[in-house]
């Protein structure tokens, strides 16, 4: 390929020297904790906020905290809903939409996102549902326009998160795709929209349970599962299997630089599941003993492939060459209308990597946080729509979007 030729490399070096004088300090800092009270503008547009949040979740939260947070969520949901509906619908008096500008979808989204158990897309869906509830619009068109604006601002806030974009798009389709709305007066139509939005939020929330139940048939007694990355869906699957008294053991990859493996092994040890930790390079070495690979997904693309944490593609290639099945556990709201042709065909999602020692400024670091696994290396996808083969993803997307 000609962009590996000498002239190309020289050109690029020239470009880099003139426009990007590298800052040696930036390579030493580890990822700063994301500010929770984000304004409408994402403060660090070149570092993917999505991956920063996940890093923060992995680093800070322990499972006790997690269960407490879950309990708090169920209480808080009720509070939030009631306070939300009271506090925001109140100023409905004959005024124009001016005083309603205090309601910001980004704030709402961030408040939902704080809960570590809640997936980002579900948080977005709940935020959009709140937009409908708080909306001052008097016609269907106005409401749809407001919703579209809110959805666009959420998507623009973090352009690298695929499940966020996909979740917003799906929500818009699901909620506005009704023809029966034309026949009713505005208020009852709005009520119906809110109902559907809540239902969609519920389905997405319960998706993990459904996936966990569907995948139980694939985990047999005495099997060895290799897991990469920290996916809450995968954790749910393994938890359910442990509860069903299945005997299995788990190999976790270390998951540099997020150290996801350490988190996961912590959780699994609490469930009394035998866990073995591997460094990322030891995957091929141990692949003989492995019966199946189980990963989550950040996004499922139209070809049936997945976008997931860096390292998934490698593991899928190794398992494919050794004839081990690769299973992906992903909720259906992660299906996105993207179609990458190769690794570089996606939007970049960079995150800073801390090597623990200072790196000279001339040395480039591959900072991408995710990779694309093509569908021929995946065996099955466990989703809340059922257990699917990769080619069915496009079928579902066509039925939904066209």
């Amino acid at each position: 390929m000609w962009w590996r030729s000498a002239s190309f490399i020289l050109d690029r070096q020239q470009e880099q020297n003139t426009s990007y004088p590298p800052n040696p300090e930036s390579l030493l800092l580890s990822s700063p904790p994301p500010s929770m009270a984000d304004s409408l503008q994402n403060p660090k547009p070149d570092i993917s906020a999505y991956y920063q949040t996940r890093a923060a979740h992995h680093a800070v939260v322990t499972s006790d905290w997690l269960s407490q947070a879950q309990a708090a969520v169920s209480l808080q949901t009720n509070d939030d809903v009631s306070s939300g509906s009271d506090g925001r619908v109140a100023p409905t008096g004959g005024g124009t939409g001016g005083d309603n500008k205090t309601f910001s979808v980004i704030d709402e989204f961030n408040s939902w996102r704080k809960q570590p158990d809640l997936a980002e897309a579900v948080a977005a869906i709940r935020a959009l549902a709140a937009v409908i509830r708080a909306s001052q619009a008097t016609t269907m068109m106005e409401l749809e326009i407001e919703l579209k604006k809110a959805s666009d601002s959420l998507k623009a806030w973090d352009a690298t998160s695929i499940s966020l974009t996909a979740g917003c798009d799906l929500f818009m389709r699901y909620v506005t795709r009704t023809s029966a709305l034309e026949y009713e007066d505005f208020n009852s139509a709005r009520y119906r929209l809110i109902e559907r939005a809540e239902k969609f939020g519920e389905i997405s929330y319960k998706a993990r349970r459904i996936i966990a139940m569907l995948s139980q048939d694939f985990i047999f007694d005495g099997c060895t599962i290799l897991v990469h990355g920290f996916s809450r869906v995968v954790l749910e699957v393994l938890k359910t299997a442990a509860e069903n008294k299945k005997h299995f053991r788990v190999f976790c990859t270390e998951g540099r630089p997020d150290r996801t493996g350490l988190r996961l092994s912590n959780e699994l040890a609490k469930l009394d599941v035998p866990v073995k930790l591997l460094i990322d390079s030891a995957v091929a070495y141990t692949m003989d003993e492995v019966d199946m690979v189980l990963v989550g997904a950040d996004g499922v693309v139209e070809s049936g492939g997945i976008i997931n944490m860096m390292g998934t593609y490698q593991i899928a290639l190794v398992s494919h060459s050794m004839n081990k099945p690769v299973y992906v556990a992903a909720e259906s709201y992660k299906f996105a209308r993207l179609y990458p042709l190769d690794q570089k065909d996606m939007g970049p999602a960079l995150r800073t990597i801390d090597f623990g020692v200072p790196i000279p400024s001339k040395v480039e670091v591959e900072k991408s946080a995710r990779d694309y696994t093509p569908p021929q290396y995946l065996t099955l996808l466990f989703t809340d729509l059922g257990v699917l083969t990769p080619s069915v993803v496009s079928d579902e997307l066509i039925q939904l979007y066209l």
Partner: protein, 380 residues
């Protein structure tokens, strides 16, 4: 119709307008396809131009253009056929004691068999004719003749506009997102959609290099090359023999298609399968651009059971090079069979993505599109 069935061939000959003479040395494996001597029918038909009563002159003209090879390419043939049919419908008047629907359908069928004799139908034309017959059959009986005719002409216009012209624009819009600065794009033959994609990407200011791969006997790539070079794109031209040498520098392959079948097989100009296979071996993504009206429910596993045979003289002679015409005088020998295939089938494993007006889909999703959208839009 299978041409190795003697009785049916005899019957068809009696009804034929075009007098075809069978080729002298027929390839055994392809006996089920029509193989005729080329070059004899055109002068014969030209003299008969004013004698043929049931044939409308516009349809006759289009048939002659197909025969001589003036009109080529799935879209162009389909549009030309439809324009001719529009003229025919405009001049049509129902004979006494016959219904418009039945008579017009019979008339269109006779035009279609004439066109088949000139050159076998492409799959795009077949789908278009199905659409037209369906529309005629669905005409309400209460309509007057002039209203029925104008409805039909409007339907034809709408089909051409939506399914061909607009869908090309949508395909170009999707495909251009897959072209990045610094890409080396390879294309084979001359596909109208691929040409539009490359020109549009150039207009948008992207910097890329094009490799045009060509093959005898049609040398269609030269047409495309000429148009691209005129617009200022930087191009490389080579023949299909060299495709494995050039493929290492290529980043994307864009191919057109005559049709995409239900199992994801791409039915396209002969040589496309070679290019796609070599690209696959070098891990270069292959993007096939095809409008959705060309999709077909048929499944084809090889290039033999359904194909078209062209003029065998075209491969035995090289134009303008007298010193290498080694086959002069040998053409009529019994032990020499010349095979000039026009189409071939590329298996879906070698295709990375199909770009249609419904978006970018994997080859496994073609039957989904056929299932969901043919029923609603085309045949309703």
């Amino acid at each position: 119709m299978q041409y190795d069935d003697k009785s049916r061939v005899e019957k068809a000959k009696k009804r034929a307008v075009v007098k075809q003479t069978e080729a002298r040395n027929r390839v055994e494996l392809f006996r089920h396809l029509p193989q005729y001597e080329h070059g004899t029918q055109l002068p014969d038909l030209e003299t008969k131009f004013f004698e043929l009563d049931p044939m409308h002159p516009a349809v006759y003209k289009v048939g002659l253009q197909y025969l001589s090879g003036d009109i080529r390419g799935g879209n162009a043939r389909c549009i030309a056929m439809f324009q001719a049919f529009k003229e025919a419908i405009k001049d049509y008047s129902t004979p006494p004691e016959k219904t418009l629907i039945r008579d017009l359908t019979a008339r269109i069928s006779s035009y279609v068999s004439f066109l088949i004799e000139c050159r076998p139908l492409s799959i795009s034309m077949g789908n278009a004719i199905k659409f037209l017959k369906n529309r005629i059959a669905k005409l309400p009986l209460a309509l007057s003749e002039s209203e029925a005719k104008s409805t039909l002409m409007l339907d034809i216009d709408r089909f051409i506009n939506e399914k061909i012209i607009l869908s090309e624009k949508v395909i170009v819009k999707h495909a251009v997102t897959k072209i990045r600065d610094g890409d080396v794009l390879l294309t084979y033959g001359a596909s109208s959609v691929v040409e539009m994609i490359l020109l549009h990407a150039h207009e948008l200011g992207k910097h890329f290099h094009v490799v045009v791969v060509d093959s005898r006997p049609k040398l269609e790539g030269q047409l495309l090359l000429r148009r691209l070079v005129r617009k200022g794109l930087s191009c490389t031209y080579t023949h299909v023999n060299a495709v494995s040498c050039i493929m290492q520098d290529v980043t994307r392959v864009f191919l057109g298609a005559s049709s995409v079948l239900s199992n994801g097989t791409v039915y396209s100009r002969v040589g496309t399968a070679c290019v796609a296979m070599v690209a696959h071996a070098f891990h270069v993504p292959v993007l096939v651009c095809c409008e959705a009206y060309k999709f077909h429910e048929r499944v084809q596993l090889d290039s033999i059971c359904f194909n078209e045979l062209g003029n065998p003289d075209a491969i035995s002679k090289v134009q303008g090079r007298k010193e290498i015409n080694y086959l002069d005088g040998l053409v009529n020998q019994e032990n020499l069979q010349l095979l000039n295939l026009i189409y071939d089938a590329t298996p879906s494993d070698y295709v990375s993505m199909i770009i249609t007006d419904y978006g970018m889909i994997p080859p496994t999703s073609v039957p989904v599109i056929v299932r969901e959208y043919r029923r609603d839009h085309l045949w309703s």
